[in-house]
Amino acid sequence: MKLLLRRVGYFFLFLLFWQVAVMVLGIKEFIIPSPLKTLSHIFQPTLAAKYQWPLHIQATLMEILLSFLITAISGNLVALLISWSRALKTLITPIIVFFNSLPKIALAPLFLLWFGYGLLPNTLIAVLVAFFPIVINTSTGLEQVDEDLLNLVRYLGATKGQIYVKIKIPNALPYIFSGFKISATMCVVGSIVGEFIASDKGLGYLLKDAQAFIDTPTMFACLLLISLLGILFFGALSLLEARVLYWMPQTTGGGKG
């Protein structure tokens, strides 16, 4: 708690420093806007109304949540398949690795061609971006089981299903959560990338619009909100993790994020 307060303190110090720097050095607004100016674009009523923040935040948030949901489910499912069968593993892994190293933005025209625009394709792009860490983490978790823990149920004649349900999956939970946390940030980034490729609303849309008019305060406001969404999402997952993994020894005080 104290740590959190100190962090907030540092953050305001940083804002102050930024404000003073912009004012003293006379930095032009279209290079770096001052924090006050940036915040005014979010909170000053007439400006805020012009930018329709709730609409765009909601659109982006929907993409983030939906993509996270899909990533979480499909990523874990794929990880489960990989760990379940060696054949599937050799088949799936190289393809995932191959796609992971592609810069998704390079496929922008193709994405539009294949999926169109809107909630669904943006979500898909985010899924594609965020997919990998979950698969890797979960399958690591499923494999990092003490062999003796498996023996413990094997000598009782446990089925493969029982082994997964009773041992492997709960055992993988900490890994699954750390995969979730990594993916959370990537879902945010992925959604924005999706909005860049094609969109008619969302913070990424607004950001591009602002960029067209060299409206840097709005651009910074968008960036601020985007990373705020990311941090909040990450924080929410950390809380959830503490809830779900109640049986883990409580070692971390404030978390890393």
């Binding site: 290079i31 933005i105 169109g116 008619d200 591009k208 067209a212």
Partner: protein, 323 residues
């Protein structure tokens, strides 16, 4: 700084003056002349060492020129005009296209028969694209409410896809992009309206520079424009060779780019250029452009229209293009 691989800087003698030249975008067919001038040594002849820098759009060019990160740049005319009103110290010193190349594409099957049919349609265009910036002006000119269409922001690279996949009813793209559209959409099904055919008479691609540069380095500007328009003249007369030269510097598909350049050449086939030479700035039309910007794009013009340009660096005698 980036230097092109075969730029003549290599065997540069003593006193070549360095010029950073900011393009408006990645390489397109209409950038061939700069490489022609480089290849033939015409910039060097003028004592200039020109460094061509790829672009990020007109807005970016204005930012770069205003912050003096480059000396001369290419920008869509309304952009420097708008920004001058906001305090940017940039001026137009020469024109490239004499006709405005903005254009809208659609499937003929969509039932659009006149520009006004765009009302209620979905339009895909990159947010940073000049089309989007100037749409309100054109909309009012053709008598429709600018907010009566639904915009989708897309990556510039996705323009063709957006139309080909019918994810948008209309795509705004320069007339010069027509050969690329035709790759994905059969030419007989591709419909288009060039804005200038419907009264959109604003100036488009122009050379811009900083007010300070005009004061301190007028000779350089003069030399640059001379070599550049000379190269334009040559390019217009030998398009295939120009694209060949461009292909030496950049990984382009020459067939596509030659088609692109040939469309571009249409913008030079005007009586103004025939009579006054390529690059000529028509004061009346410039005034019209400024007014258009002021009226339709809600910009407070706090200076006379003559302030946005300076025609004194254009080559004399001019390169008159006789097509």
């Amino acid at each position: 700084k980036e230097a092109s691989p075969k730029a003549p800087t290599k065997e540069a003698p003593k006193a070549l003056e360095k010029v950073d030249f900011q393009l408006n975008w990645k390489i397109t067919g209409d950038h061939a002349p700069y490489y022609v001038a480089l290849e033939k040594g015409w910039y060097k002849e003028e004592g200039l060492d020109v460094n061509v820098i790829l672009g990020q759009g007109s807005g970016y060019t204005v930012q770069v020129i205003d912050t003096k990160k480059a000396d001369i740049g290419i920008s869509d005319a309304p952009v420097p005009i708008t920004n001058r009103a906001k305090g940017a110290k940039v001026k137009i010193i020469g024109i490239i296209f004499d006709k405005h190349p903005n254009c809208m594409y659609f499937w003929k099957s969509s039932g659009i028969t006149k520009p006004q049919d765009i009302v209620g349609k979905t339009v895909a265009v990159p947010a940073t694209d000049g089309h989007k910036v100037m749409w309100p002006a054109f909309a009012k000119q053709i008598g429709v409410d600018p907010s009566s269409v639904k915009f989708v922001n897309i990556e510039p690279a996705a323009k063709v896809s957006a139309l080909a996949s019918k994810n948008a009813d209309v795509v705004f793209e320069l007339y010069t992009g027509k050969p690329f559209m035709e790759k994905a959409i059969p030419p007989d099904q591709l419909g288009y309206f060039v804005w200038s055919d419907y009264g959109f008479n604003a100036y488009a691609h122009s050379y811009i520079t900083h007010d300070d540069t005009i004061k301190t380095r007028p000779e350089m500007l003069r030399k640059f424009l001379k070599a550049t328009y000379r190269a334009w003249d040559y390019t217009l007369k030998n398009p295939a060779e120009a694209i060949d030269i461009l292909g030496k510097y950049h990984p382009i598909n020459k067939e596509d780019y030659l088609a692109n350049l040939k469309v571009v050449m249409d913008f030079f086939k005007t009586d103004r250029y025939k009579n006054n030479g390529i690059g000529y700035i028509d004061p009346a039309r410039m005034r019209e452009t400024v007014e258009l910007v002021a009226r339709y794009m809600n910009v407070q013009m706090n200076f006379p229209p003559e302030d946005v340009y300076d025609a004194s660096f254009l080559p004399s005698p001019p390169f008159k293009y006789n097509w």
